[in-house]
Amino acid sequence: MAVPHRSAGRRSFYLNVSRWAVAPSLVYVAIFFAAPIVVMIIVSFWQRVGGKLEAVWSFVNYEKLFKKSYLLEGWFNSIEVALITTVVSILVAYPLAYVLAYQVPKHWQKFALILCILPFWTSYLVRSYAWTIVLSETGIINTVLLSIGIIDDPMQIGYTRGATVLGFVHFFMMLLTLTIYSNLVQISKSYRLAGEDLGANKFQVFLRITLPLSLPGIAIGAFITFVIAIGDFITPMILGGGNEMLLPQAIMLQVQRANDFPMASAMSVLLMISVTIAYFLLARWLKMDRV
């Protein structure tokens, strides 16, 4: 009769314990993340008929979604605005993160970071409405431009896609700055010094060492920015003035006005597909342990 090895048995015991230890996390994820998504997908195949929810399986909502060109346009607009926001946010956030990580003395970095996150301490809505005042015809931008004679009439800055993107970039660039900064400070200084010793100038060191090594930070920040921006309906409504419909606005109409959760779910599934595609595009660089 084969006698089980004592140490193997102990290892298996510990393995089982560690399995049980993760169970609460798995249950948490299942209840609060997986289950709602499954429910949303299921409901997207139901219908609201005559003001009542009917649990009858059909593709009616998806058919409607793909037949109405303005809904598809709303989806494309959402992707476009989220992409523009992500790219602009990276372009603004990277230099700031770089300066914070490499130019600001260590003992000032904490203070500088706190300054950077200050905007997060105010209400999102207040920030949006504050922007409408800044961008209005009588706002500070138009007032300054008019007073120094650059323009003769106030420019229409508010209630445009540009205003929406501006608001988004303001809200998200700090998030990106933080993820990039966290990544940059983890890159060993010796890599850069070695590059310089081997004859590379500062730009080459940045392009061939720092930038590639900071891609995980950029990817994670970009992904989070994209996910939040594509699902936001408040900023486009307030700063965009409802002049360009994004899919989250249509979802809110279905939820708040029509009480049509199946249709709203179908639209949300479409948004989720966009986010999933974004994830796979960035998956190569999405290394959470680097941030």
Binding site: T132, G139, S182, G242, L253, Q254, Q256, A258, N259
Partner: protein, 377 residues
């Protein structure tokens, strides 16, 4: 710039930077803040009630602290308030709640018939309502009774039309629905994003009263001018967004606005004004209903009675959320307040008004589709 009405850590895990706030420090800080807040909450003085609390679902005007104070005094309990915007939104809230969660529902009077069909609200005792003290025409509205039964007690009314900057807009222009499409005001218009109200205003401007709107004439008559309005406007937004645009002079007109959107500010901002269309004013009328599942119906009746007292009506008419006409003729408003609300003109306006009612499910669904198209255009 004109004054605007007051209204209403991160630390991503970072092993290399020990000087920064780390996760443990953040958690400790958060725990301290949370614990402190909880302790403060436990130690804060709390008002005790006699188990007569009610939950109240309403538009924001009924949340005025003075009015809620009257309610709580009347029932000897706490009034838990949640505000909503739009009957559809309120119905969704009730539908997603447990039976008994809501006691009092401030439903648009014109929607009480439709809402009663869902079984959400109770039939009310008509003899308990002081109709004789109300403005003429309130009780005579076609939607007041559903199959001879009363489901809501009206307490406040007003209209949708246009609110505007009278320094920039000719008051004569504001009297016609044609102002919505007038190229003279291109890019100077904000549209209140309440879909059926705007479609009903467009309908009135084209000779179709709200009750006559159908799925067919939405497409054949209302769609084109609605999209024309969108092209003529600068923005479509909620109450705050449109008001903000008016106050910062980004626009001169709010379509869908009227006394409810600007009366509160008119004393301090004399450049503000409002107007109803000569083709007809689009009337809204709020009413208080009792939720069928409520276990505290007597307390709700006490609140309804309180709303119709002179103080209740005065607080409601001049609510810190928005002003509009009280239904009771004996409401003790000042002369200035009456002038702003056009108290003396009410009989004429009432006679030329059409109730703004939510359409049948089919019409409503078609309206939401058209509104989505409007937003995308």
């Amino acid at each position: 710039m004109k004054p605007i009405r007051p209204n209403g850590p991160f630390s991503p895990y970072d092993r290399s930077v020990s000087t920064l706030m780390n996760r443990r420090r953040f958690m400790k800080g958060a725990a301290a803040v949370t614990g402190g807040a909880a302790a403060a909450g436990m130690m804060a003085p709390t008002k005790s009630y006699a188990g007569n609390d009610i939950s109240f679902l309403t538009w924001c005007d009924h949340t005025d602290a003075r009015l809620i104070g009257l309610y709580e005094e009347a029932i000897g309990g706490k009034v838990n308030v949640k505000s909503y915007e739009g009957t559809g939104s309120a119905l969704a809230t009730i539908e997603q709640s447990q039976p008994g969660d809501w006691d009092m529902f401030m439903c648009d009077f014109q929607d009480t018939g439709m809402v009663s069909a869902t079984g959400i609200i109770d039939q009310l005792d008509d003899s308990r309502v002081p109709w004789d003290g109300m403005f003429e025409g309130i009780q005579a509205q076609p939607h007041a009774y559903t199959n001879g039964k009363l489901y809501g007690v009206p307490d406040k009314f007003g209209y949708y039309g246009v609110a505007y900057n009278k320094d920039k807009v000719d008051p004569e222009d504001a009297k016609s629905g044609a102002i919505m499409y007038d190229p003279k005001y291109k890019g100077r218009i904000a549209v209140y994003d309440y879909y059926f109200v705007i479609m009903q205003l467009v309908g009135i401007s084209k000779g179709i009263i709200p009750a006559d709107i159908t799925v067919e004439n939405l497409e054949s008559v209302i769609r084109e001018p609605l999209l024309e309005l969108k092209a003529n406007s600068l923005l479509t937004g909620d109450i705050l967004t449109t008001l903000n645009a008016l106050h910062t002079e980004s626009v001169d007109i709010i379509v869908g606005g009227a006394e409810w959107s600007v009366a509160l500010d008119m004393a301090n901002s004399p450049w503000l004004d409002y107007q109803y269309f000569d083709e007809g004013a689009l009337m809204w009328n709020e009413a208080l209903s009792i939720v069928s599942d409520s276990e505290n119906k007597d307390a709700v009746w006490d609140c309804i009675d309180t709303t119709l007292t002179p103080d209740g009506q005065r607080y409601l008419a001049t609510s810190d959320c928005y002003w509009a006409m009280p239904v009771m003729k004996n409401t003790p408003l000042t002369d200035d307040e009456k002038a702003i609300l056009r108290w003396d003109e009410q009989p004429g306006i009432l006679a030329n008004s059409y109730p703004s009612t939510m359409g049948t499910p089919d019409v409503d669904a078609a309206m939401i589709d058209l509104w989505t198209e409007y937003l995308a255009s």
